[in-house]
Symmetry: C2
Subunit: 284 residues, 2 copies
């Protein structure tokens, strides 16, 4: 059974004991509502480290939309059970007051990588993510931390933050887990109606169409984007927020396909926002 | 003899060895040009910890004035000798490239405490200080870090950053070291002409006049400031940047004297900028 800890002091004391045995600590930060995507992060941490810590904390300062924050799924007992089946040592589930005893007035800002894509449509989002992850890293002090490739820009922001601030934590990316029809797992999928769930598969299909366009020889950005956007245009109830071809490291728009690129998209189905991406190796 | 280390990897490996012996690490971040004020920080670290690390790094991103950065005194051999006489274990003196291999694009911002005083007259200064100190804390990972009370707002910014980001480092303030006439030690004092050095003593005398004004019963901010400003007005070659009564914790202007307050001032003598402050306990 995973041990539940809710305050910072107890967690620090517990992990100090773990560290003294010479065990390495793997960390999986989450906002709960755990699914097989988180399971893959836990399994990777289990494989790479001696002791696994999972945090469950819905971080208010990364939500630019209050309704999205309030609607975010929360069920600690289910998350605790799920973590136990993945051999997690400690689940850290602090209260809002424990993480933010006063109004947060110190922020970590990762300038370049945070621009564009989700950064453009969710003002302050990555500042909130970077700040919360910096806090959690300082609390847990893990050797390695695991992040899903589904949130590609978040992963890029965290990598850049760790590098730029010399944070002594190794960042391990874990491949996106998908449903059989390609839909990337996300806690937000729960909020889709049955009909929306059917349409949601088009997000992956659009990314895949763009990828196929590249693999069959397209090198023009407009053509590659066009191949993906055409798939999404087939369903009028899908509203496209962005569909971009970016550099996989700095997340900025590319003008040619010479580097490692990432095809990234965000769509809305009713009031549910879904994101996904595919990375491609460099091509000539 | 203090050991000189100039790269991050070697420092980490050296300190990992120190930590394994169970020794606690005390850290004194400096920009070099070491004087007895830094000596007091080293002595405090020596008293409080088993092993003392001093960093010597003139941090470009905290200078809003390029000339000030270029004129900043640098003499590593002298600093190394000085550190040795204070029983420092390691002097960490990285190059600019070692600390900033690429343009810094991640910043730590401490919003409230950075406003006003030096924050108003040196745009970006505290963002640069907080970011560099966060980097150094992540590199050195000390148990305790020592900061001079002379830089009161800097100390307040660092304290707030550590608290807000849950950085596992204890911050120890060390009283300002002064010349016999009251002038606070600063590497910038070297740049004063003989005549300016005589006038420089008025900075402490002005702060002291404001303190005496409080101790003899003044409670009106304008009256307390007036007592200090009157002293500085006696020398036309002194240009006053600010002379303020602020809350000693958040560095914001106060309207009454009920909390612990700080009288803080910055003046210019020619091209040399000097700062100093005095703290007072709460009064009714």
């Amino acid at each position: 059974m995973a041990e539940l800890i809710t305050d910072i002091a107890s967690l620090r004391s517990r992990l100090s004991g773990v560290r003294k045995t010479g065990a390495t600590i793997g960390f999986v930060p989450t906002m709960g509502a755990l699914h097989a995507g988180h399971g893959a992060l836990m399994d990777a941490a289990q494989l790479g480290c001696d002791f696994v810590v999972v945090s469950v904390f819905v971080n208010p300062i990364q939500f630019n939309n209050k309704e999205d924050f309030e609607k975010y799924a929360r069920n600690l007992q289910t998350d605790l059970d799920f973590s136990s089946t993945h051999h997690v040592g400690v689940v850290f589930a602090p209260s809002q007051e424990e993480m933010y005893p006063a109004e947060q007035d110190t922020f970590v800002e990762v300038l370049k990588v945070s621009k564009g894509l989700c950064g453009e449509f969710r003002p302050g989002h990555f500042r909130g993510v970077a700040t919360a992850v910096a806090k959690l890293f300082n609390i847990v002090q893990p050797d390695l931390a695991y992040f899903g490739e589904k949130d590609a820009q978040q992963l890029a922001v965290i990598r850049r933050m760790v590098q730029s601030l010399n944070i002594p934590v190794g960042i391990v990316p874990v491949p996106t887990v998908r449903e059989p029809d390609g839909l990337a797992l996300s806690s937000r999928n729960q909020r889709l109606t049955q009909e929306q769930r059917v349409h949601a598969r088009l997000l992956f299909q659009a990314l895949d169409a763009a990828r196929i366009s590249v693999m069959t020889g397209s090198r023009r950005i407009s053509e590659i984007r066009g191949a993906g956007l055409k798939v999404l245009a087939g369903e009028p109830r899908i509203s496209v927020e962005y569909f971009e071809i970016v550099d996989a490291e700095n997340m900025q728009a590319v003008t040619d396909m010479s580097g490692r690129i990432c095809i990234a998209a965000a769509i809305w189905l009713g009031s549910v926002r879904l994101i996904d991406n595919l990375s491609l190796p460099p091509r000539s």
